[in-house]
Symmetry: C2
Subunit: 375 residues, 2 copies
């Protein structure tokens, strides 16, 4: 499904040009991670302890005795800007969809450690009280948020709806979700100590761009003749395609548990694209032999932003929203369970002893350890 011939000639549009400079953020992240690690001792006074291996993973895990407690906060990022612009162009509200995106950002990270998401807290910081006066938009946000919670069996506990004039821009909203869950029973913990050579890599389909790479997507919109209204496929505009909500993968991980399958490791494929497959701290080689189907909007973006495969796969999800590393004997059943939950899936590759690298065989691409500095 991947389209390689460029139909227009453009300079390559890199993620860094698109406005996010990780070189400036990453030193703060590292110093925050060190300071955060130092606070773990405080749990001892309450009779609890952290699971150290969860530091740097997608969710933080604490041993509270009968089970593990997992928590996370995640933000939507700049996808709200696309929703706002499409609302202006079409008169529709897309806030039901981006509500799901926001929850998916948190839920899909939380489940990587083996947790069942239980409670979501909403963080909706608007540029001013008047944001909330658009009743249709507010209703769509509430309805989408509720639906996404219901799809995952999560209780929406409450949240915060500040009006932050002077911090958040007028007419905009900063959406984030905090999610808490339990790893229960404890043997569901999937921090990767069980990962080993011979394991299979099952990739779950994405629905499109999800909520990573939107800075690039927005920059690209400026280049397109009809902007967000440029057709990606007949009848589907670029803006509508971008706004396909992120898939929620917790129904799959819950169904896997019911089916007796415990993943050895999981990776939510978000920022850094497929480089996230290198996330596990130990040295393994990951070989991909089968590519997932590619959502049309991602093929369109690669073509129009003139990204080579290396740049595309290291920035966008390229059709793979979530990776499950499972025992080889569980691989086919994992695919079946995902499909029963309505999520496309395939056995896409395998784990090998060897240097830390990701090889995407059908594309002749290789990423090594140096290409994912941050965990």
């Amino acid at each position: 499904m991947k389209t390689t011939e460029p139909i227009e000639s453009h300079a390559t549009l890199s993620y860094q040009q698109a406005g996010v400079d990780y070189r400036l953020i990453d030193p703060l992240k590292v110093s925050a991670q060190q300071a955060a690690a130092a606070t773990a001792a405080g749990l001892g006074a309450h009779g609890f302890s952290e699971i150290k291996a969860s530091r740097g993973e997608s969710a933080y895990v604490v041993d509270v005795g009968p089970f593990y407690l997992a928590s996370i906060v995640e933000c939507l990022g700049s996808k709200a800007l696309v929703a706002d612009e499409m609302a202006r162009l079409t008169g529709k509200s897309y806030y039901d969809g981006i509500a799901q995106d926001t929850i998916a950002m948190a839920v899909n990270d939380l489940i990587t450690v083996g947790a069942t998401p239980l409670v979501v807290q909403a963080y909706w910081a608007a540029g001013g009280s008047e944001w909330f006066a658009d009743a249709d938009r507010a209703r769509a946000l509430v309805a989408g948020w509720q639906r996404a919670c219901e799809a995952c069996g999560i209780a929406w506990g409450g949240g915060e709806t500040p009006a932050l004039a002077g911090i958040v821009e007028a007419g905009r909203i900063d959406l984030a979700a905090a999610c808490t869950g339990l790893v229960n029973p404890k043997q569901r913990l999937s921090l990767g100590d069980r990962l080993g050579a011979g394991d299979a890599i099952v990739l779950l389909d994405s629905s499109g761009i999800h909520a990573n790479g939107l800075s690039l997507a927005r920059k690209l919109a400026q280049r397109l003749p009809q902007g967000y209204l440029t057709p990606v496929t007949p009848g589907l505009s670029y803006g509508d395609a971008l706004l396909a909500p992120t898939l929620l993968y917790s129904p799959v991980t819950e169904a896997l548990w019911q089916a007796g399958i415990t993943p050895h490791y999981c990776a939510n494929i978000t920022g850094h694209g497929w480089r996230k497959l290198l996330r596990h701290p130990q040295r393994f080689s990951y070989r991909i032999h089968t590519l997932p189907g590619m959502p049309a909007v991602l093929a369109f973006m690669q073509r129009h932003a003139n990204l080579d495969d290396r740049e595309a796969y290291s920035t966008l999800n390229m059709g793979a929203g979530f990776a499950l590393f499972v025992a080889d004997r569980d691989a086919a059943r994992t695919v079946e369970v995902a499909q029963q939950m309505g999520i496309g899936a395939r056995v896409a590759g395998s784990v090998h002893a060897g240097p830390k690298e990701l090889v995407i065989e059908p594309l002749g691409l290789r990423f090594d350890e140096g290409e994912l500095q941050l965990r």
Copy 2:
């Protein structure tokens, strides 16, 4: 300590004039609360259930079997704007202090239900990658965040540091904290079913404005001859006084538990000022006979913004950061325990059968049910 004579003549500066119009936000909040309540059924599939009485309280509580799980997300609000302006005026960074404010907003709410805060997730959304390039400011934020976690025995689990150009204003940062804790053992739950006539009201000191009423404070700065550099007391500028970090009350609630005291109810005094004392859903009359000492900055604000007592006490904390409703026999010991933890406290009033009202006797003020629509 309260100063009542106005030293300058100004029109009254109300909270609504200062930029936050709750009439626009509140309908969304109500509709979100209804949608959120509907999601609770999802917990049943995981074998858990919500504690319904926590809906509308300061933190959301789920029964997970051996104990209760409590969670919350809270934002700092506009205090960061004061920190930014004071940094410009003085060359100092105030981000260590506002880090504590942000954590206090979450922790002081979480403990109202009887929970021990265990994990904080940081949400730091900047207006662009370049925010993080100011190493001193970033270091102060990290150091203050760590210190506040350590003061409460909380593990800083991780967080999210997005660069949100186009959503968050350039040069600004939106700070929030998500906090998860446990009510353990379950009899620590303090959702208010034990509150009754005859209980004592113990008020814990605030350190100043904390993190509510900052829109008003900023508006007032524009009126002052020297702005934020106007002295509040000799050697203490208005800006410095505003930026006194919010006190963290979880060491007090933990020490109370160790001392065998379980509050019947708690109220974190934030937005809506002392009207928060009316938060409990049932009908009780609350009579205050003793006022706490007033931080100089709040007396200064009342005077310069020309607020009458009714407006001041319904907007600002006026010296009381947190209210503990305890059995009368525990009142004196509660004060002692708080003082041992370094927090000023006094038995300030009592709970009575009668109409839902708050009477602040020394000021001849009465607030009734209609003055706190939202829980």
